[in-house]
């Protein structure tokens, strides 16, 4: 859609009466010109007007095809469809009520389900400042890649005796855990977070 096209459509939507009047004027002007030409050729006013109309063909049809080119008949069709649907619903109130209730119930169930899903699966491990998180790891030997897990009592000891971290949390290895925060989003695997702490 070009900018010009968009502007013309917008105009047709915003001031439909003006656009319609212009369309009528444009087509009427054509018939007027044709009539004058035929009159200049010697026909009477009535005869000329009649012939001009015949030659033009059905004006409403031409107008309709112009409207189709405008491409906003979509909105008009939509408006007609909606009003038809409303009339039909009003005629059968019980059916309408059942439909409305069904949809409302369905939406409600989906909302509740999503709320729970969101709370349990999307909001896990949300922390406020992920950049203040530190992973404490113990390696098998210096330079090694494999880590030795902390035991429960070691974890308790770190938690109890530290004055560096505000708190300590332990995680089991090999569960990828997502950590979300205000400023940064970081993916980390939990075994690097064996003793994750926040200052």
């Amino acid at each position: 859609m070009t900018f010009r096209d968009f502007r013309l459509r917008l105009r047709a939507v915003l001031s439909p009466r003006k656009v319609e009047r212009e369309l009528d004027d444009e087509l009427a002007f054509h018939i007027e010109c044709e009539t004058r030409k035929l009159m200049a050729g010697g026909l009477s006013d009535t005869e000329a007007r009649w012939r001009a109309r015949v030659r033009f063909g059905p004006v409403p049809l031409a107008a309709d095809r112009c409207r189709d080119e405008r491409g906003i008949s979509f909105f008009e069709t939509l408006a007609r469809d909606v009003s038809f649907a409303l009339r039909t619903l009003r005629r059968t109130p019980l059916v309408a009520l059942t439909v409305v209730a069904t949809i409302a119930l369905g939406l409600g169930v989906v909302t509740v389900a999503f709320t729970f899903f969101n709370a349990f699966f999307f909001q896990v491990d949300a922390v406020r400042n992920p950049d203040e998180l530190f992973a404490v790891e113990r390696l098998e030997r210096p330079g090694s890649r494999s880590e030795v897990p902390f035991s429960r009592s070691e974890y308790e000891a770190i938690r109890r005796d530290t004055d560096v971290f505000t708190d300590v949390a332990a995680a089991r290895p090999s569960f990828p855990t997502r950590i979300d925060g205000r400023a940064a989003v970081r993916e980390t695997s939990a075994h690097r977070m064996e003793t994750a702490v926040s200052i």
């Binding site: 070009t2 900018f3 010009r4 096209d5 013309l8 459509r9 212009e22 004027d25 444009e26 087509l27 002007f29 054509h30 007027e32 010109c33 044709e34 004058r36 030409k37 030659r55 033009f56 063909g57 059905p58 049809l61 031409a62 107008a63 095809r65 112009c66 189709d68 080119e69 405008r70 491409g71």
Partner: protein, 111 residues
């Protein structure tokens, strides 16, 4: 020679004729159809019911633009004018038409 109603001739021909007619001066719909009829020596007679939809389509495509002006009859009329993109489109379509008609001519003569 019998008169031809244009869109039946070949699809797209009407657009080309309209663009070409507007190449020099802005015109309203009736003048465009008269002009085409005159220049073609009455061979091409525009189907009026197709002219205005075509004009509106070309306007939406941005190839022509419209302006309301007082006409020679003293009534306000919608004048169409070729835009810059329209001029480009005219060159493209005229070239296509040349190619097509030359090809058809060759087939008629030599096939």
């Amino acid at each position: 020679m019998p008169r031809q109603t244009i869109p039946d001739l070949l699809p797209g021909t009407l657009d080309l004729l309209i663009l070409r007619t507007l190449q020099t001066d802005p015109m309203h719909g009736w003048a465009i159809s008269e002009r085409i009829q005159q220049i073609s020596q009455d061979v091409l007679q525009i189907n009026q019911g197709s002219l205005y939809p075509a004009l509106h389509r070309l306007e939406h495509q941005g190839w022509i633009e419209a302006e309301w002006r007082t006409s020679e009859l003293g009534r306000r009329a919608k004048y169409y004018r070729l835009t810059v993109t329209g001029r480009r489109q005219l060159a493209v379509e005229a070239g296509e038409w040349e190619r097509m008609s030359a090809a058809i001519n060759r087939v008629i003569k030599f096939a």
